[in-house]
Symmetry: C2
Subunit: 171 residues, 2 copies
C-alpha cells in the first residue's frame, strides 16, 4: 500500500509480519497469490463500506448518491486506488481485476440504468454500466493523485445525471 507491490520484496513482507518466507509460501502459492488476497481484502472493505452507507436509504436516487459518496470515501484510503486500479489489472490480469471491483456499487448503477432506460437492451445497459464504472474509477484515481474531490464528484454526478435523464435514441 505504501510503495507498491513491485518494490516490496517477500523478505520485507515477512520481516514486518514476524515470520519467515517459508510460512508465506506455505499459505500462498506465490507472491501474486498473496497480492490477490490483499486486493480481495481491500475490495471487500470498499464493498462493505458502500453497503453500510446505502443499506438504510430507501429512495433509489438517494441511494445512488449515497453509494457514490461512499465509493469516493472508501477510495481515500492511501494506496488503495493504486493497488486496486493500477496494480491489480497489471498483476492479476483484466478479468480478475474487474471481478474484484464488480461488487463496488456497479449493481446499483446497473439497476438505476435499467430503470431509467427501459427501452435499451441488457447488453447496452451492461456496456453503459461498465463505461460509467470506468468514469467512477478514473475520478477516484484523479482524486488520489491530487485532483479536486468536489470537482470530480460534480462532474461524475453531471455524467450520471445526463445518462439517466438524457434523451438517448433506442438502439
Amino acid at each position: 500500500m505504501e510503495v507498491g507491490v513491485a518494490d516490496t520484496a517477500t523478505p520485507d513482507i515477512v520481516r514486518k509480519a514476524g515470520v519467515t518466507r517459508g510460512a508465506l509460501y506455505h499459505h500462498f502459492a506465490d507472491k501474486t497469490d498473496l497480492f490477490r488476497a490483499v486486493a480481495q481484502g481491500e475490495a471487500k472493505a470498499i464493498a462493505d463500506h458502500i453497503d453500510r452507507e446505502t443499506r438504510d436509504v430507501t429512495d433509489p436516487e438517494m441511494a445512488m448518491v449515497a453509494g457514490s459518496n461512499a465509493f469516493f470515501d472508501a477510495m481515500l484510503v492511501p494506496g488503495r486506488v493504486r493497488l486496486l486500479m493500477e496494480e491489480a489489472p497489471a498483476v492479476l490480469g483484466h478479468a480478475e481485476a474487474v471481478a474484484l471491483t464488480r461488487a463496488n456499487g456497479s449493481e446499483e448503477l446497473r439497476d438505476g440504468l435499467t430503470e431509467a432506460l427501459p427501452d435499451h437492451t441488457p447488453e447496452h445497459i451492461d456496456a453503459l454500466t461498465n463505461l460509467l464504472s470506468a468514469a467512477f474509477d478514473r475520478a477516484a484515481l484523479e482524486i488520489a493523485y491530487g485532483g479536486d474531490l468536489a470537482a470530480y464528484k460534480d462532474a461524475m454526478h453531471h455524467l450520471v445525471g445526463d445518462v439517466l435523464g438524457g434523451s438517448a435514441k433506442q438502439p
Copy 2:
C-alpha cells in the same frame, strides 16, 4: 506486446534484437526506460492514426465521430491496450501514463465539450473530459478482452451524445 513486460526478460529482448545487454543499457537507463520508449512509440502511433483520420473532416461533430472510430481502430492492435492501459500506469506511474494518452483525441473531446457546455467552468470541462476519456479507455479495454466492439461503440456514442446534448445544470 505478446507476453507483457513483467514476463519479458532483458536477455530475451536483446536476443531477438541481435545485440547484447550492454547495448541495451547503453541506450536506455534501465528496463523501465526501454518500456517508456516502447510506450511512447505506441502512443504516437495512435495519435498519428487519429490525426490522419480526422485531418480532412471539417464538421466538428463528424470529426469527433471519426476520431472516436479511429481511436477504436488503433486500439485493435494486439497487446497495445494492455501495454498502454494496464502496464503503463503500473510501470511508469499515473502521471506519465496519462501524459502518454493525453494526445489521443482528448483535445478534440475537450473542444467539443467546451463548445457544447459554454456555461461550465474550465475545471468542470477538464474533469468531464477526463471521465469520458476513461470511458473510451475502458471501452477499448473491454473490446480487447472480447467485448462486442459495436456494442461498446454504441454505448460510447450514447454517453457522449447525452453529455453534449444533455440538459446539465450549471455549477
